[in-house]
């Protein structure tokens, strides 16, 4: 496991890869629950997704309950 010594770490000894991975999870999750208006499914389904707002509708109640701006 000599590779484990190659992993770059921040000065607190936290691997940078772990911080980047968690930062991506943070931003993606926040977007899905707090702000998506059809963007994510539009990558697959095209403009129709902006009409259907599937994720928006599914996460809608939490969006209100957690204090994000909505309708």
């Amino acid at each position: 496991m000599s590779q484990s010594r190659q992993i770059s770490v921040s000065k607190n000894g936290i691997p940078i890869t772990a911080i980047v991975a968690l930062a991506i999870i943070f931003v993606a999750g926040l977007f899905v629950v707090g702000f998506d208006q059809g963007h994510i499914f539009s990558l697959v389904y095209g403009d129709e997704a902006f009409q259907d707002l599937y994720i928006h509708e599914l996460t809608h109640d939490m969006r209100h309950a957690a204090g994000f701006p909505c309708h």
Binding site: S4, N12, I14, A18, V27, M62, A65, P69, C70
Partner: protein, 241 residues
Amino acid sequence: MKTFLFILIVVSSGVAAGLIHGSMNLIFVEPSLDQAIGIENQHLFASGEEKDTPEFWIKYDGYRTWQKSGQVLAGGILGISIGALFGIVFALSRNSLPGKTDVKKALVLAGIMWLTVYFIPFLKYPANPPTVGDPETVVLRGILYLSFIAISGFGAVGFYKLSQKLKTKKLVAIIGYAAFIGIVFVVMPENPDQITAPVDLVNNFRIMSAFTVSLYWLSLGIILGSLWHHYKPHKEIIPFN
């Protein structure tokens, strides 16, 4: 630092606290949401967009049941998301957090983050039930809310770092942050929307919403702290093993 174990602990405590949050919302927040959406339905009937028929209510009930299941699912997703941020900050600040055990340290950090990135922003831009928001202003409201959270969060970190650098007491950092966020609080524009829903409904919704989000932060601190205490992901892997 055991990278995989660290991420696993962060993600599992996030999803667990998030599922607690979503389930608590079903009990405490959904009644207000149903009430608010009920008012919207009355508006739809009044404007003729929908008709008050049994078919409407069957469709509506099915839809709401589906949406409520989404509440729990979204709780899990949001839980992982906020938990990831919490995990990063905890890992970076663990050595300087007060408290003898990891549970105490995690609870202290959860309290600080609850205050700076949730509760103070909530006081400025409180949660609103459906029927209150104007769809035209949703982007503006989103920008205001996120900016305030970011300013408050980075402000707290900034004043902490500054007090470390100047070797002053932590109290100086707290006073500095309080003065800073007080000014931002006054300067930032208000939520532009008029509240048209009944005051009791809005207030009740806000109290319940703040209650369950606070439960989330409390659960997150306890669960992450306990898992950390148990599995000790900060312990180094023995090199050349």
